[in-house]
């Protein structure tokens, strides 16, 4: 069985918002700490 396209789309969407968002805010926190 292959994962349906719609499930893959939700996987990408969830990953970008959650993990992408987390990486972005951690990056801002590190940048702020280095100042």
């Amino acid at each position: 069985m292959i994962l349906p396209l719609s499930a893959i789309a939700m996987l990408i969407f969830g990953s970008i918002v959650l993990y992408g968002g987390l990486v972005y805010f951690l990056y801002r926190a590190l940048k702020e700490n280095n100042k």
């Binding site: 069985m1 292959i2 994962l3 349906p4 719609s6 499930a7 893959i8 789309a9 939700m10 996987l11 969407f13 969830g14 990953s15 918002v17 959650l18 993990y19 968002g21 987390l22 805010f25 951690l26 801002r28 926190a29 702020e32 700490n33």
Partner: protein, 494 residues
């Protein structure tokens, strides 16, 4: 000036973030989110979930961080600073997580026993029979309490002693503990996910989890479920985030920390979905049944479905069983001590009792309060109290918190306070969310829960049991809040 402001601070920003993430991420992320997601449209649920996260979860966590950082004190003192007559709300806020902790540690005690049972896969081929009959010794109804279960009692003692040892030295020790107890279970969860995804049938499970059913987005209950999930998962309205933020340094960031904590919590839930559904898919394929026929929510998942799947693993079953329960224990311990810390800080702050003594008193009371859940009828009472606290207690406190801080204290002042030290500035949109949107959603959640409970009494139990498990604890906590407010403290007036 108060004791906290003078003596206690997080060792670093990292320690604070880790502690707040550890508190938010708990057993609920592993057993609740995947199930709620699956029940409410699969992948499509992510849309209302993210809307709820950004319109309620993150704004509320910013609110709790801001007020804790502004008052630099425990919740009772925070509300006293807003107005002397509101101190009881602070006590109400810290007593609810204390009750939550009383049964939460029992679930951890189960995990502790199961971690040991994993060595020889003691549940055998019938995990359900083992869990309910041999392990819990479950009685016929909540009215039959039965005796104390010795393995649970020992686990319970071990968990309460751990909580005491972690808390009595103050936040510096919490900072050191969470540096281990947050990354370790996350790494274990990743290992379990990789193992799960390599099993036959895993794709079927993931497909169930993620395939979106967009028609469900028109159902108001799906949106309510999303708001409820975000609210409970982040540990809001329990005084935890207020207490933790009170230990922050004066110039610490608030808004960015709130985003990091919220996204880390939601990210862990999302990951747990893969861990759970890959294994559930494997179990369904192995047994030749549909995924819907397997229990995938609450204790069923953790103590029946998952052990069954572990027994069927082709190799290293004991190893993967152990790391699953070690992950749950380490996820749970941060949440458990964070539920105890607000009430300990409240007592320590008001009566100037040493932290060690305050922690000792609270943990001893907690241990005795937990005993009812360690009996043969304990599972019934655990589910009953959990149902009422989650549906009414936390939502009611969240609502009161928004109303008092949004309308009486003036939310603008808190926004200005948060913006003073934060990297990301928040605008007037935040005021609108705290004053209007979140109270509106919480009112609907309360109303729906109330109507549902009146039409369909929980599990069809007789009214006297519902009163004993739901109404009596709620009224007792409410009255105790006033009693604790009235008892004269030794604190210096703010």
């Amino acid at each position: 000036m108060n004791i906290i402001a003078k003596n206690e601070h997080w060792g670093s920003r990292f320690a604070f973030i880790m502690a707040a993430v550890g508190s938010a991420v708990g057993l609920g992320n592993v057993w609740r989110f995947p199930y709620v997601c699956y029940e409410n449209g699969g992948g499509a649920f992510l849309i209302p979930y993210f809307v709820a996260l950004f319109t309620a979860g993150i704004p509320m966590i910013i609110l709790e961080f801001s007020v804790g950082h502004w008052a630099r004190s425990s919740p009772p003192e925070v509300f006293k600073k807003i107005g002397k007559k509101w101190e009881w709300i602070g006590w109400w806020t810290v007593l609810i997580p204390f009750i939550l902790a009383a049964y939460y540690v029992v679930v951890m005690a189960w995990c502790f026993s199961y971690m040991i049972y994993s060595i020889d896969l003691r549940w055998g081929l019938n995990a359900e029979q083992f869990f309910l009959k041999s392990f819990l010794g479950i009685t016929s109804s909540p009215a039959v309490i039965g005796g104390l279960r010795v393995p649970i009692l020992l686990g319970l003692l071990a968990v309460w002693v751990c909580v005491f040892i972690i808390l009595y030295k103050g936040v510096k020790r919490i900072g050191k503990v969470v540096a281990l107890t947050v990354p370790i279970p996350t790494i274990l969860l990743i290992i379990l996910t990789i193992r799960g995804l390599t099993l036959p049938g895993a794709i079927e499970g993931i497909s169930y989890y993620l395939t979106p059913n967009f028609s469900r987005l028109l159902d108001v209950n799906v949106w309510l479920a999303a708001y409820a999930q975000v609210f409970f998962s982040l540990g809001l309205a329990q005084g935890i985030m207020i207490t933790y933020a009170s230990f922050l340094h004066r110039k610490s960031d608030i808004t960015n920390n709130a985003f990091i904590v919220s996204l880390a919590d939601a990210g862990t839930s999302f990951l747990a979905g893969f861990t759970v559904f890959s294994v559930v898919g494997y179990l369904a394929v192995s047994q030749g049944v549909g995924i819907t026929e397997l229990g995938i929510g609450g204790p069923n998942l953790t103590f029946i479905t998952y052990p069954t799947a572990i027994s069927l693993l082709p190799f290293a079953a004991s190893f993967f069983g152990m790391i699953f329960y070690v992950a749950l224990l380490t996820f749970g311990i941060d949440s458990a001590f964070s539920m105890i810390e607000p009430v300990t800080s409240g007592i320590h702050n008001k009566w100037k009792i040493s932290k060690t003594k305050a922690t000792g008193i609270v943990c001893t009371f907690g241990f005795f309060a937990s005993l009812i859940f360690a009996t043969g009828g304990g599972l019934f009472w655990l589910e009953l109290v959990d149902h009422f606290i989650a549906n009414f207690g936390l939502v009611a406190i969240g609502l009161v918190e928004c109303l008092i801080l949004g309308w009486i204290y003036k939310i603008r002042k808190l926004r200005e306070h948060a913006n003073k030290t934060s990297d990301i500035l928040i605008g007037k949109w935040w005021d609108i969310l705290i004053k209007f949107v979140i109270p509106f959603v919480l009112c609907i959640l309360l109303a729906v829960a109330l109507v549902n409970n009146i039409i369909n009494p929980y599990m069809g139990y007789p009214w006297w049991i519902i009163a004993l498990g739901g109404v009596v604890p709620a009224i007792t906590i409410f009255l105790m809040s006033f009693v604790l407010m009235k008892i004269k403290g030794k604190g210096v007036e703010p």
